[in-house]
Symmetry: C2
Subunit: 361 residues, 2 copies
DNA sequence: ATTAGCACTCACTTAGTAAGAGTGCTAATA
DNA sequence: TATTAGCACTCTTACTAAGTGAGTGCTAAT
């Protein structure tokens, strides 16, 4: 009776597969990514780069299943990759750098950055759209992070008797504007003095530090400089009240409907779950927030999100001065074309880094 | 042999139905709106406000079908309203003013406007969300129209050596900002002079007139006032290039996933069509752009949009000084709770009008 | 004018059957 | 010993047939 080769050889250590097993795992994943159908031994044997009979492949597949890399949906079906299988595939079997991205696609990407108007929100929106078009998955982009964003300027424009528009400009080119209602009896002179004071004190401070800085350093000086300081403090509190929440870096989702073209999502309940996930911005942020700089791949349950348990997320960070300031992500089924998406995100993150660096300098 | 009552009586004129026919049509529509199932004569007869036997009702229904108000999905099914039936129902059989909106719902609406921060984009976003929640349909809101928006102020903030942020503030409180790259060799002095000049000339001009005004009046004075006028003109052209397109009044969509809860949209192809429609902003705008002030109901094919041919759109305009400046809309199946939605939109449009009027004055 | 009665239609459900893809095991082979 | 051919077995999918039930239209009675 035949025993599992790898068990016999003591090779069941995670991550160590024979060359033939790698070849077969790779074939299964490649094929499944392309067809979305379970693949059987005969089909694999037909691939010209494999010189074994279906029977041999069946044996190896049984082993790979035993080790948890493959799954059999039902007895008489072929095999599909498990999450562990995808993980191994991504970690050991692909080489994104070897992927050729077509000229057309590259041109599409470049086009984004050569537009006359470089308002960065437009750039991000357009990127979200184009990225979803060239990948056929859903793109999710996290705007420049407040964490690395510093206040550059405060500006005030009176709008009417008792309301003003306050404009906060940051070093990344982001412009925040709010309409404030001011208490009766506050003169425009007083407002102007206040703004000048704030400008002199707060320019250059990272947004997320603004409130603590105000509390620790500004209030004191305030009391000595402004006779009616309580009123002014109320205005300031209004001004910065929701600035340090990271609800501030916007999420841009593009091509959500691409999900609908994936055969694994032809179930209405699943669709409902995913689309309503997209409407819950906070969860989307959690989903694509990376742990480190560079490319990151989270497969299925690694997303820690029930709804996305058979989805994968690939993210790339973009940077200014070596500091990651935002994330570009792709959301799709675990059955995703990992190498191509990784390659495209590498390109794009690079372009984003250049773009924001140019904007910043 | 029995002939159609209305034909016998010469009453087949559009819009003229006997009281009993109205009662039955009304019953069919009401019931279908609630259940999404075709309704038969027996069920209608059971309703306590109708004192006729199923047979009589069957006869009337056959007449209503002949006249095009009802449809029979197949021989042995009950009847459902046709688009013409819905139209008659909306025009003659409902009385939205009589609808009571629950305190909870009203409070939800009021809450939107009592938030501290009245930045209007936030207000609209929140409205889109809440409106979709209280109606269980999809809400589409068209932001204040550029058409009635005038330039209030131009402001410049230098961002880096060769780029500036230009901020355009409008009378509705809208703030447009763009990052511009300026040609080498243009001094900040020159920019400032330019801005002062533009401010003195263009404040108060409706945005959609900006370009023509520049062409007709400004360029001339320009040539006399600025020695290097060609360069300045290039900057101005950059500045206003996409302002007069109405791509400018943003569309806000809320609760798109509510579509998925409607039984008539349990087909993946339809879902795909509708969601990708939502991603095509321009078409969405077309869809909810009203022809007149006030409430407007477009049923099914009246939308002139294949994809939305079994959807209805109800819109309400909001105004400042009697001028309509934007639209609040509800998108749902033709089988929509018209009276309730109309009532809610009336409330909301009123609040919007008040809100923007307050902002404007 | 209205209604009871009845034959008829048609979608929907359930059960049963046949086809096909793929497997695992055994025995033969290099 | 590693590989492969052969074969019985499993399980999904597609298809067909029969049965059910809701609702109709027509006829005849009230």
């Amino acid at each position: 009776m035949r025993l599992s080769y790898s068990l016999l050889l003591g090779l069941e250590v995670d991550g160590v597969l024979s060359e033939r097993q790698k070849l077969i795992l790779s074939a299964v994943v490649d094929n499944y990514i392309q067809s979305a159908e379970p693949i059987g031994s005969r089909s694999i044997a037909k691939r010209n780069d494999i010189g074994f009979s279906p029977a041999t492949i069946r044996n190896e597949m049984a082993d790979l299943e035993e080790m948890g890399f493959l799954i059999q949906p039902h007895t008489s079906a072929g095999r599909i990759p498990s999450n562990k299988g995808y993980r191994y595939y991504v970690d050991h079997l692909i080489n994104p750098q070897g992927i050729k991205i077509s000229k057309d696609v590259l041109n599409n990407i470049r086009k984004i950055f050569t537009e006359q108007f470089n308002e960065f929100e437009q750039v991000i929106e357009q990127t979200a759209t184009i990225l979803s078009e060239i990948t056929n998955y859903t793109s999710i982009i996290l705007g420049p992070e407040i964490f690395n964003t510093k206040l550059k300027h405060i500006q005030i424009i009176p709008l009417a008797d008792n309301s003003i528009i306050v404009i906060l400009v940051t070093n990344t080119g982001k412009v925040e504007h709010k309409t404030l209602t001011i208490p009766k009896g506050v003169s425009s002179d007083e407002i102007e003095r206040l703004v000048n004071f704030l400008n002199s004190k707060l320019v250059g401070v990272p947004l997320y530090q603004l409130k603590s800085k105000i509390k620790s350093e500004i209030y004191q000086e305030f009391i000595t400089n402004f006779n009616n300081y309580e009123r002014s403090m109320a205005i300031i509190d209004q001004l910065f009240i929701d600035l340090d929440q990271d609800s501030d870096n916007k999420v841009y989702v593009g091509g959500a409907t691409n999900i609908l073209n994936q055969p694994e999502f032809n179930d209405l309940e699943i669709i409902k779950d995913i689309f309503s996930l997209f409407e819950r911005t906070d969860e989307v942020k959690q989903l694509i927030k990376p742990n480190n700089k560079g490319i990151e791949v989270r497969i299925g349950t690694e997303n820690n999100l029930e709804t996305a348990s058979n989805c994968s997320v690939i993210t790339a960070t973009y940077e200014v001065d070596g500091e990651s300031i935002g994330t570009i992500g792709i959301f799709g089924p675990t059955r995703m074309n990992y190498s191509r998406v990784i390659r495209i995100l590498e390109y794009l993150a690079d372009d984003f880094t250049q773009f924001f660096t140019r904007l910043y300098k």
